[in-house]
Symmetry: D2
Subunit: 345 residues, 4 copies
Amino acid sequence: MNKKLMIAAALVAVAGVAAGLAPEMKKWQKGKGWGWVWGAQDEIGSLNEMTDASRLAALRLAKQGKVYDLGVLYDRNTYKWPGHSPGEIIAFRTPEGVKRQQDIPGVIQDNPTKTAWHSCALFINDNVATQIDGLGHATEGEDDPWYNGFKEKDWGGNWGPRKCDASTIPSVIARGVLIDVAGAKGVDALPPNTAITPADLEEALKKQGTTLEPGDVVLIRTGTLRHWGETGADHATIGRHDSAGITLESAKWLVAEHGAMLVGSDTSGLEYNPAPEDNKAYREKYKSFMPVHNYLLIEQGVHIGEFHNLEELAREKAYEFCYVACTNKIKGATAGFTLRPIAIR
Amino acid sequence: MNKKLMIAAALVAVAGVAAGLAPEMKKWQKGKGWGWVWGAQDEIGSLNEMTDASRLAALRLAKQGKVYDLGVLYDRNTYKWPGHSPGEIIAFRTPEGVKRQQDIPGVIQDNPTKTAWHSCALFINDNVATQIDGLGHATEGEDDPWYNGFKEKDWGGNWGPRKCDASTIPSVIARGVLIDVAGAKGVDALPPNTAITPADLEEALKKQGTTLEPGDVVLIRTGTLRHWGETGADHATIGRHDSAGITLESAKWLVAEHGAMLVGSDTSGLEYNPAPEDNKAYREKYKSFMPVHNYLLIEQGVHIGEFHNLEELAREKAYEFCYVACTNKIKGATAGFTLRPIAIR
Amino acid sequence: MNKKLMIAAALVAVAGVAAGLAPEMKKWQKGKGWGWVWGAQDEIGSLNEMTDASRLAALRLAKQGKVYDLGVLYDRNTYKWPGHSPGEIIAFRTPEGVKRQQDIPGVIQDNPTKTAWHSCALFINDNVATQIDGLGHATEGEDDPWYNGFKEKDWGGNWGPRKCDASTIPSVIARGVLIDVAGAKGVDALPPNTAITPADLEEALKKQGTTLEPGDVVLIRTGTLRHWGETGADHATIGRHDSAGITLESAKWLVAEHGAMLVGSDTSGLEYNPAPEDNKAYREKYKSFMPVHNYLLIEQGVHIGEFHNLEELAREKAYEFCYVACTNKIKGATAGFTLRPIAIR
Amino acid sequence: MNKKLMIAAALVAVAGVAAGLAPEMKKWQKGKGWGWVWGAQDEIGSLNEMTDASRLAALRLAKQGKVYDLGVLYDRNTYKWPGHSPGEIIAFRTPEGVKRQQDIPGVIQDNPTKTAWHSCALFINDNVATQIDGLGHATEGEDDPWYNGFKEKDWGGNWGPRKCDASTIPSVIARGVLIDVAGAKGVDALPPNTAITPADLEEALKKQGTTLEPGDVVLIRTGTLRHWGETGADHATIGRHDSAGITLESAKWLVAEHGAMLVGSDTSGLEYNPAPEDNKAYREKYKSFMPVHNYLLIEQGVHIGEFHNLEELAREKAYEFCYVACTNKIKGATAGFTLRPIAIR
């Protein structure tokens, strides 16, 4: 491409974004969202909406080159949902250990520079720290089907689901929008068991002056991660705020009405968790113990972002940005985990 | 920012890149490279060169929004250096298992929708699949110091090095350059134990018509990953080609002469491994069994990229691009692993 | 018990064993063996035959107090069936690491003696080194039932089978008999893919002058473990001999005709594995790829001993002894593993 | 050996025990104990005292053949010292998973009997459930030496200590003695932070009518394990009683005065742990945070038994018995763990 053409192309893209034109959507329908519309073998869901043009438009949202790191740091003490397996990062080889163990004589002998190395072995769960849930994470129904009707008896296995594992999640480059609910309510972090309703989202968007567009990555801030500290060791405090989240109605409002292509938050599970005294009524109303997961992952094919650190974005009132997230490529993993998504401005 | 200003800023950035202006470097010196120039507490090395402006310039290299996935897919069968620990991705919770095990009665009872989930537990090494080596990976000398003089007795530990672990690697957004050595030599993949010299690099760059700039991420293609298949299960074939790599002279040429800020390739270790019959002479000449690692990581503070899949870039002759890599945030890990770096055009 | 009574009791026991009287059996029937005869909830199988009297009689076989260690030493390099997960024993805490990591200040501070400790974290499979297979190890049929008809849909789970896991194996104290087939055939170790027939067992017993009794632990020597070395690192040699083993006919002869209460050998799987060229015919004849496992574990409720080191017993022609094995108490494990059974003479 | 000789030999052994004669000791000295008396390469310590004769005498203590299982059952919820790594027992292969995964076509095809199997992968610490500490577990001093002066810089490594790992612990067959301190004090379990003194031990022995002999395995009951339940899940209650234990003075009394060859209890660490308010004085007096471990393991070469379930022995007032314990054979492990020692009467 010569210089003139290049500048022209850039101008077109910049102008398009500046004019507020949403990239055209392939399958999304207002009032309905997506559903299983991408073909019987699809494992990607709403992220199929991404195109070169949509990515380029998102990249052009970066005007300064400033990067916000949305990942939280993980170690053995990190808060996680108690139903997941624990974790250890263990020094597997150390400079002293390599030399003492003498198990690789060809390497250690004739070693006048005394060269050695560190490496670690990890035991880790695939649902820890900053995550993007794969579409095979949640199942619902008699034969345990997940997104697109893949069933356990057909596509289960000993090494993770064999359809819609997290390695199928394409690199996400899209317009990102922060909805700072905690900020709009004037609190550091939402109180425990706060149910975030569509009205709450609308109110926050209005205060921010932000407009949602189909194809957005929408990140909702509860303020929980202001208590993360270095590695999420204060389980009691994090656990309290971690119960705030969106209701099923909000999930529908975001996806069916506004075309959110990925929905995330700064909690471990995105969705509202009722207080013990409200649990019975909640279960009776929503049937599932995680209706938002079921709706987004299974019914809509919309990935969920969890434990995204939105504190710096909120401090700087950075409500619109280019969101980039690249999931680790591990076959069978049910979520991208210990991720470092970024927001670029 | 209003629309006019925004367009103007974009134009400036676009024009700067179009004019071939390299971003100004902070500490790099031609002929010397970097070294320990960033302060006694620095854990980041040459990546300190990144600025908002350099990132914005790199992002502006994307003209189409096309993404190349440079990560390789990992599973239990994946080829790795035999000195690392093995790996398993194991279904920890499954829909059937959760219901049979009955260990979380509050979740499974009152579950008319029969909701359940998948999660996995992983045992995994932090030096597998697509990696970026942290500056604490290699050590050299009596007290086992690594980059910036951090010593094992001060900064070692049971859970990985406590300085320069991979979680300190900032998100990398920079101009990326592919040097397709295999392509320039007209082979699918370089023969085993091929030593890639500065002359080889120069020849390939010349054939490509590509110019290096200080601050580049330089990725060197041996063609090894054309044998990766789905998950790197053909150890014999991969292992043979995996021994091709750059010499110490090439590493110096890239960093000290050309300012490469991160150097990577499509092999497990970037550097040339001699054939058994050449090993003795090699050791006598270079002293260390991994002189390129020692030079880049320890002496220069330049991170190393490994097992980057460059096949699609090579097929499309995509020699210049925006490189984006975000390392998993795991405290103590010695490398980013199972990564999905991307090239954007 | 006063001294006279004690001596009298000992004399009775000694005399009984000396006279070759077998302990009375509860459920075993010649020609049939056991089967599912111990009640619908039973998880123990033929080991239910043990009584105080049978144990005392076995203990009285010890005349010298000499102990033979039947366990093999396990480490990361140890030979195992390739379908099992790999293993690592990793230093989790080390004296230096504890002090450097400074994660337990209350312990390390005020520590004038500089006290510290070692501990290890293990990733390990429950079917490695010297084993006793639990009755839930093998399944056969449409609903994947195992011993006593326990089915996967009822008694499976995410953390091992919930019936007949190896923690249900009682401490085994019984008369042990070595059948040294390799010795009888005058070879160091049986050739690969040797099928040990009832005639082979009879011949060896005759040469030894040993008689089987109902309730015996029968250990069959192929000689494979003479190639174990320190930790079973020579996979090629071990793997070759490891394919020798008993046929289904021999398993039936041992259990149904002779009342063997536990059958073991010095290989990883006890049973004969056909050479590739014989595999098709073998499968057609026996239907299962492991008919001996199915017969012993599922049909008869007879536990299987694997990788029992019989070399010293063979050298000393110690054909009869008191066998003692105590399985590790890990809920959900499918086999006792890395065991150290002993023979006492 | 003919029948007459056999009976005669048995009589001699029985008579010796009946007469209360202690087996002759090789190196033990009253008032001193052992120390590093077994040679510079020794890794076994006081267990070197065992001989065929001592084992035979111990076996002859079994008069009925009744077995007491001293192991506690372990699972993911089991109480352990918080400084150890967590554990999971995970279904690695399941009948359904094997068939769905289709990763071993040669096994699963041509499988008319639908044979399959269960196996588990474990992540586990080597200091959990019923244990015998190896002599390399504790270190004390500048160069982190352990028993017999083995130092970390010489005998450390990445995969556990390379001297005195738990695989070196010989099968223990010895006279076992229960000292039921909780019983003697008339309590179900000793109150938290109870310091068991020599006077307490003497009082309990006197009440029981039990006499210690050199070479004994001495097991001291606090009653903590009456709160174990199925798998030690009630951490709060276990943790409280777990702080009861013997003082350094008691350890010396047992070893130096009475020749205890192995000292164990029903707690996680055998020794007294002071209440927080007494901690400062305790540290000032004893210097080490675990003086009993240092004395027994390092100075005396006496192994420590932990979490031995003594409840049934106490209920039956079974104060003297044959103790048998066979440690798992894992190279580098620092303790035998998840063991099932037995007492035979």
